[in-house]
């Protein structure tokens, strides 16, 4: 990695461009590439943040420059030049976006068609310069009214910083501190926007929350930050992402998601991730380096992560649960696909601290083409966690003989009353199974989809209904042509 100190010419260049950007063109939408404390001050000022935010960002940055990228994952990553990235763009000008769907890559349109994405949504997803999509705006408005009645706060992170600074200050970084890891530190220093949810005491959020319905959700950029707080006895289900492939020029994505569940609260967080995976030769594609963690801070609280990861060239993510409260429950259900030259290193951490804490891990990895798929999971039972229980099931499905599946389970048990179970299987999609289906009249492609969906069933049933149907279609499209 390069730091500002290592390359004086680059530093000079950045400083010069930056001065130009800042002084003479204060309204400019994008800050020139490069990162130093001035850039962070600029970001904070542009967002009119209170001083605690700026201080926090600066501390994160100062820590980040001392850190190294993690090297332990089973991933091959081309070097990233952090000084070549621009760390602030205002909501995009629509000048260089496609003017209509006619200008959008026909392959992308074909994919939308296969996924059954409604016509009026396709333009938005492809980044077409439409001022507002009438339908989603009106939906979002009624949506906001209902939430307000229930007392639920659901807004962009920037709005939360302006309107609910006390909540942000209290909870930001309390689950993922800025010191946590290289990418989390970077995100803390420069994050652009994201989502904020607060569900007050005893409130059951009246609907599934989705970024999809949040106005201005588009272009939250590559350093997204999400914070969800479920107060005592509250319940919320949050959906992130979309099955449709999104157009995005940024290669590096380093998001942070923090969840906090207080006494008797429950948070269900579902993700469908379908960023551009690169082409069939492995050129291009998003690097998705995400830190997601939830803390069951209160007694009897529960946090469930469900993820379907089919996109990105490289995925590095471990949605985790810290089970602090007695009797709290953590769950992780995951389907990860690595096709063509995709690489995925994903899994979870379950940290048992409270008594009678329980965790369940169900991971389904699918490898095809030259894809490399790793499950990496930690189950840690601390001495305080009397009668903790964990069950882990970790299955890999291989399609073809060029791909790889790897499992790295770590267990650290420091209380003798704990019960920890781990089951793992690796199977090849069987010629026998395919032939059986085909001999009943089913085409090979449908047979593959059927078998793969059967393999993932335990995870899909954890997704909200309409998401589950979309996820199945998505899987079919992602694995198209990988057998035969």
């Amino acid at each position: 990695m390069s730091t500002p100190q290592t390359d004086p010419t680059l530093e000079a260049l950045v400083a010069r461009k930056y001065r130009h950007g800042f002084v003479t063109d204060i309204e400019s939408d994008t800050v020139p590439p490069g990162l130093d404390e001035d850039v962070i001050r600029l970001i904070s000022r542009k967002k009119r943040e209170p001083s605690f935010m700026l201080e926090w960002r600066l501390k994160a940055f100062r820590h980040w420059v001392t850190m190294q990228e993690p090297k332990w994952a089973h991933l091959r990553i081309a070097p990233i030049d952090y000084q070549a990235i621009s760390y602030y763009s205002a909501p995009k000008s629509k000048a260089d976006a496609p003017k209509s769907l006619d200008e959008v890559d026909p392959k992308l349109l074909e994919t939308y068609d296969k996924l059954g994405i409604p016509l009026h949504e396709r333009a938005r997803l492809a980044g077409v310069a439409v001022d507002a999509v009438f339908d989603s705006v009106s939906v979002a408005t009624t949506f906001k009214e209902r939430l307000a009645q229930a007392g639920v706060i659901f807004c962009s992170f920037s709005e939360a910083v302006q309107n609910h600074p006390a909540l942000v200050e209290q909870y930001l970084g309390s689950v993922v501190p800025y010191t946590d890891n290289f990418f989390a530190a970077l995100n803390s220093a420069v994050f652009s926007d994201g989502s904020f949810v607060y569900v007050p005491k005893g409130v059951r959020c009246p609907m599934e929350l989705s970024t999809y319905f949040r106005i201005n959700a588009a272009n939250t950029g590559q350093f997204e930050r999400t914070l969800i707080i479920a107060d005592e006895g509250a319940y919320v289900s949050y959906l992130e992402g979309c099955t449709a492939p999104m157009r995005d020029e940024n290669q590096l994505h380093a998001a942070v998601v923090e969840l906090i569940a207080l006494d008797n609260a429950q948070i269900k967080y579902s993700t469908v991730q379908n960023w551009y995976p690169g082409d069939e030769q492995g050129r291009g594609g998003i690097y998705n380096f995400v830190t997601k963690r939830g803390e069951c801070r209160g007694v009897n609280s529960r946090i469930s992560w469900t993820q379907v990861e089919t996109g990105s060239a490289i995925t590095w993510k471990y949605p985790s649960c810290i089970l602090t409260g007695d009797n709290s429950v953590g769950e992780f259900y995951s389907v990860a696909v690595a096709n063509h030259y995709q690489q995925a290193d994903t899994g979870t951490k379950m940290i048992h601290i409270g008594r009678n804490t329980r965790s369940t891990i169900v991971s389904k990895g699918i490898s095809a083409g030259h894809g490399q798929n790793s499950y990496r999971g930690l189950v840690k039972i601390l001495p305080s966690a009397e009668n903790a229980r964990n069950f882990t099931q970790c299955d890999s499905l291989l399609m073809g003989d060029q791909c790889g599946a790897h499992t790295f389970p770590y267990m650290e048990v420091r209380n003798p009353t704990a019960s920890v179970e781990h089951e793992a299987t690796t199977s090849k999609i069987g010629d026998d199974q395919l032939f059986y289906c085909m001999s009943r009249g089913v085409s090979e492609e449908d047979a593959v989809n059927m078998i793969v969906n059967g393999f993932c069933k335990a995870v899909f049933k954890e997704l909200p209904m309409e998401f589950a149907v979309e996820a199945q279609n998505l899987l079919a499209v992602s694995l198209e042509g990988s057998v035969g």
Partner: protein, 249 residues
């Protein structure tokens, strides 16, 4: 219906079928018997289109078409059905979901309207009664955790739903106790029709007490060495296979 002419089949280095010829007319039931390793199951698999076998000579004509040129799913859609000796488990895939997908693919191929979930369920329930299968089969994964007998019954259930023109039964009697055998045989018998042919591969004559064949053939060394009527099976039961091998040699 089906005409096999001088069929030679190899799996890897091993020659398994060695000039097999057989003609099956519409509505006929043929039993193919023979000692272990004589190529009975290979014949069934090759006719259904299983990969891994190489046809080195000979032809197979099914309803006037070159059967070997068709893919397995095309054969199924043209009315060929194989009841497997060892039906494979497919975890997480619903048993009747697979069946519905198969039936609708076949109906589409025939130019018939696809069945919706309700119509299909009505049909399956009726056929399940025939096979004395309880409702729980509707919700289980394909052969997942089925006993040997349940698997075989499930195969015949599929046959009853898919209504093939040519049914190949591969050792459908193996692993069945006498009650299960009777249920399976009754199922098959109820599916006998003048326009449907059945070829059963079996090691034992026992099955033929329940499903009476029109013709019995003995397979040895990869070819049919003797053909006859049902009495041939009884003779085999009495005398074993050795005398035929000697006669053929």
């Amino acid at each position: 219906m089906l005409r096999i002419d001088n069929l030679h089949v190899r799996a890897g280095e091993r020659q398994i079928l060695n000039g097999l010829s057989l003609e099956v007319g519409a509505g006929e039931v043929h039993a193919i018997m023979g000692p272990n390793g004589s190529g009975k199951s290979t014949l069934a698999q090759v006719l259904a289109g299983r990969e891994g076998y190489e046809v080195t000579a000979g032809t197979v004509t099914y309803r006037g078409r070159d059967l070997l040129a068709l893919s397995p799913e095309e054969r199924a859609r043209e009315g060929v059905f194989l009841a497997f000796q060892y039906p494979v488990e497919i975890p997480g895939v619903n048993n009747v979901y697979l069946l519905k997908a198969g039936l609708n693919a076949i109906r589409k191929h025939r130019g018939e309207p696809e069945l919706d979930a309700f119509e299909f369920l009505t049909l399956v329930r009726e056929k399940m009664k025939l096979m004395q299968m309880d409702e729980s089969f509707l919700n289980r994964g394909v052969n997942e955790g089925f006993s040997g007998g349940e698997k075989k019954r499930n195969e015949i259930l599929q046959m009853a739903v898919l209504e093939p023109t040519l049914a190949l039964l591969d050792e459908t009697d193996s692993g069945l106790d006498i009650d299960a055998l009777r249920i399976v045989a009754n199922g098959v018998n109820s599916l006998r029709r003048p326009d449907r042919s059945i070829v059963m591969v079996t090691h034992y004559q026992r099955l033929l007490d329940y499903i009476e064949p029109d013709y019995v053939h003995v397979l040895s060394g990869g070819r049919i060495v003797k053909s006859g009527d049902k009495s041939l099976a009884l003779e085999l039961e009495k005398r074993g296979y050795d005398w035929i091998k000697q006669e053929a040699a």
